[in-house]
Amino acid sequence: MIALNNIVATYTTVRGQVNAVDNVNVSIPNGNIVGIAGESGCGKSTLLKIIYGDILYPLSLSQGSINYGIEGKNGEISTKDIGQYWFKRISYIPQSSMSSLNPVVRIRKQFLDFLEPGQNKKAILEQVREYIKGLDLPPEALDSYPHQLSGGMRQRIMVALGTYFKPDIILADEPTTALDVVVQKGILLLLMEIQEQMKNTILFVSHDMGVHYQISHKMLIMYAAKVVEFGDSEAVFKAPMHPYTRMLIEALPTIGDAKEREGVSGRPPSLWDKLVGCRFAARCPFATEVCKTEEPEFLEHQPGHFAACHHVDRVRQA
């Protein structure tokens, strides 16, 4: 179980401080693919950075803590020392493989970066070669430079790097957004297969609700730095509790359904402003007076299904 306890993540800028993640309090059970969705700027990537322990200026963890549920050398690990366990216990698959792989170094050398002193290079490389075969990559891919591989193959290499040590936690930040649909499907099915074998916890950020429907076991929806809904995917897609979630699911058209779709007017509030009440209120069709003045609490409305909304019942009935 990964417990996020009242996390507040702050960026320090010349204009002052701004909280990109504001008071997030969620417990994620092990062995799930957890989909994180929300608009650009809602704090989903910042949350991932905090969990990865990649906290560098101007980002800081100004409040709260994370329990990873992983025993390290000195007891349970925290955001301070998680850096020592990168790749081995927790790994990160970024969106852009081209800017993550070193363009002037062959792939195989990048695989050996995490070699510990005294380990046999040749033997490890043999194992890696064997491993990437299982990911539908030709063994020669290891001997290539990144630019010689297609976007899909590079992203498979990133998946291979991220999963080789069977880490407990995998963080994936829009890993397939830059890819074509056919290639995307291949990578997602691969990730699902790996997860079923290794039973790791994958936190998967994407803005594409279709992708979440296909792969996520749990859903975590963010809006303007807050978590607004968290629960089992099935329940969230079938009967969303937060109007924003509902809107995300219904906003885009599907093939075979020519029903008219409406976008939502307005835009998320600026995090620089002093925000009172519910942050979605200005755009919400269910909003009443109370939403403008009182911030809704993040509550468990059904077992395992949390939402922060004053009007959960009305949203569910609509």
């Binding site: 297609s150 056919v182 803005h207 429907y213 599907t254 093939i255 075979g256 976008g263 835009r267």
Partner: protein, 331 residues
């Protein structure tokens, strides 16, 4: 009938590599499209990256010269041999909008200066004429001139700025707007506002659209016609609802199968991804044959001709009958 969009044997070759290992990429290979209609239409061009859809847009917009062939928009040849000479005429026939509005507008210039420039270019010289034209264009996309005046791009959200860029395109009252991935940078909650705007501009201003996208769901929602491209060739063309409702080309079927939808879970089987992209451009036969489950010897030898069907659909496949049946059985 008015010819809204027509390309005749349109070719565009790019050369890659140095002097020794030079390869030719046929980014557009003998593209023949024809849409005729008396009413305004929205035509979608869909395909993966590298399918040639942006190259086709660039040729139509005269940003690149075609190697051979020509493109016609509203009965006027706009690219290739015999293209209309006058720049003014060209600009009031078609206008572009681009993918990323933050790159389309310079961060150091006010956005209304772009709109004024466009108005000047098509002949509005006086101040009052310019501001009337700007006002009208901005109103039609749901903005007010007063809200835009003197503002810089970073003072808008992506959705708003894309509206401004649509307003700019509307100033010359073009017959067709070429929109290259206009919503892919815009968040899901705002995307439909732009898409619905296309529909209302089509109704109210008789503006046609060439909508270039990789998102088949919005293409289905918005368009009248759809052309599916693969490696520089058209593989299927026709009525949008028909094609996405019952695709006949195996590539269209593959694309539809791969979309992450929210009403049906995927079957756990993958198609072979293409690992020889550049080589596929050199194929003399069908360019999809390397990944096609139905491919036979003839696909290697002959480029499949367009099979025209009664409902106007064109399928570029030797085995269109077979694929249609196979899909019927599966469904």
């Amino acid at each position: 009938m008015i010819t809204v969009l027509k390309t005749t044997n349109l070719n565009k070759f790019y050369r890659l590599g140095g002097l020794v290992k030079r390869v030719r990429i046929n980014a557009l290979d003998d593209v023949n499209l024809s849409v005729q209609s008396n009413k305004p239409v929205i035509i979608s061009l869909v395909g993966e990256s590298g399918s040639g859809k942006t190259t086709l847009a660039k040729v139509i917009l005269r940003l690149v010269k075609p190697t051979s062939g020509s493109a016609t928009i509203y009965d006027q040849v706009v690219a290739g041999e015999g293209a209309i000479p006058s720049r003014k005429e060209f600009l009031s026939t078609l206008q572009p909008i681009f993918q990323n509005p933050f790159e389309a507008f310079s961060a150091y210039r006010t956005v209304d200066s772009y709109l004024q420039r466009t108005a000047n270019r098509i002949g509005h010289k006086s101040g009052s004429g310019v501001s009337a034209a700007l006002d009208e264009a901005l109103n039609s996309v749901g903005l007010k001139y007063a809200d835009v005046k003197g503002k810089y791009p970073n003072q808008f959200s992506g959705g708003e700025l894309q509206r401004v860029s649509i307003a700019r395109a509307l100033i010359p009252k073009p017959k067709i707007i070429i929109a290259d991935e206009p919503v892919s940078m815009i968040d899901a909650s705002l995307r439909m506002n732009i898409i619905n705007l296309f529909l209302s501009l089509k109704e109210d201003f008789n503006t046609s659209f060439l909508y270039i996208t990789h998102d088949l769901a919005t293409a289905y929602y918005v368009s009248d016609y759809i052309a599916v491209m693969y490696r520089g060739t058209i593989v299927e063309f026709g009525n949008a609802r028909d094609i996405l409702g019952s695709p006949q080309h195996p590539y269209t079927q593959l694309l539809l199968d791969s979309i992450a939808v929210t009403n049906r879970k995927w079957e756990r089987k993958t198609y072979k991804a293409s690992d020889i992209e550049a080589k596929e451009f050199q194929f003399s036969g069908c360019r999809f044959r390397n990944r096609c489950p139905y491919a036979e010897a003839i696909c290697k030898e002959e480029r499949p001709p367009a099979l025209r069907q009664e409902d106007g659909r064109e399928v570029y496949c030797h085995f269109a009958d077979k694929t249609r049946l196979a899909k019927g059985e599966a469904a």
